[in-house]
Subunit: 219 residues, 2 copies
Amino acid sequence: MRQHYHEELDDINNCLVEMANSVGSAMSKATTSLLDADIELANLVIEGDEGIDARRENIEQRCFTLLARQAPVATDLRTITAAMRMISDLERMGDLAVHVAKLARMRFPEHTVPQELRPIFLEAGHVAESLVAQTATVIAKLDVEAAAVLEADDDLMDQLHRQLFSELLSKDWPHGMEAAIDITLLGRYYERFADHAVSVARRVVFLVTGEREMHAVHE
Amino acid sequence: MRQHYHEELDDINNCLVEMANSVGSAMSKATTSLLDADIELANLVIEGDEGIDARRENIEQRCFTLLARQAPVATDLRTITAAMRMISDLERMGDLAVHVAKLARMRFPEHTVPQELRPIFLEAGHVAESLVAQTATVIAKLDVEAAAVLEADDDLMDQLHRQLFSELLSKDWPHGMEAAIDITLLGRYYERFADHAVSVARRVVFLVTGEREMHAVHE
């Protein structure tokens, strides 16, 4: 019984890694749909969100079954708590990929992102992908060191976000208000995506080190 | 034992109502700090967020204790699942109030919101307060009817949000890009706040009616 229980915990961990990978793939496709004004890819991301939500449901259900059947304490209980919080973050990351895809779709066949801002979003997309890949590694290997690298990537995302704002605030923004609103929201979506990835990694750190995580508000 | 258990469940419900009230009070103060450029009030909201996070921790801990000690099934298990999801929404609503307060503080002693947009934010503040008050009622009384009213208020918030966009997109927006970015973000904060309130109410409906909630992405 006890053996089966730890297998089930391992299995939940594998599902978390898979969910992180799905979310990373969604954001990666969303970025491409944005930069290529590819409406079919955008639709794929939007329709694919149900699958991510289903993964969340599945993991949550398994956590509850474990809680109900095994009444775990101490570390095992903390592992399950952490998993249940991580799926909230991961589901939200999937939603943010959908928001990006929807902005791509809304302006189709036009490009949502003006030509000279493409490099920033290309980079933001790369950073987002890298963050999710590292988050998946942190979950898979309970690797606290990798989590530190992840915080550095998050700083990079903040820097890109600031860069967007200075473009918007430059004296000769030529793209009008609609594009400015789109860019402001897109910047926020990528930044929030990164924040949630870091939040997932911090929960793993909390789990491994037993340190109390900071409940700082996302800046 | 069983008696004590249901008392504990009721008590968790009371804590949820109190948490909703705290969040409502935070957003109400944040709106005032925004409209009056009141930096002291803004700071109160920002510093007060720890208290809201602590409420979340407390409720979560109690849920886990109940799960671990009682191994509830069926309705009781669903009640605890719902509570644990609701505290995520409520905590996030507190964060959004902080975001509003931070934008008020960032522009101090200037006003973040241009004079002619004040009525929209005043109204958004009222709708937010009303939404939270109703959410608290839905939780307290498990009142499915009240949840429907809440969805109507959410529509009102969406309408205010669209109104903001048309102000921004009007030909003669005279307040420059910085204000436009602030307004875009503020609009998003209030809209998300409303979405989370509706999400909390839907969980109660799900709980009461046993209907499967829709995992639609927030528009």
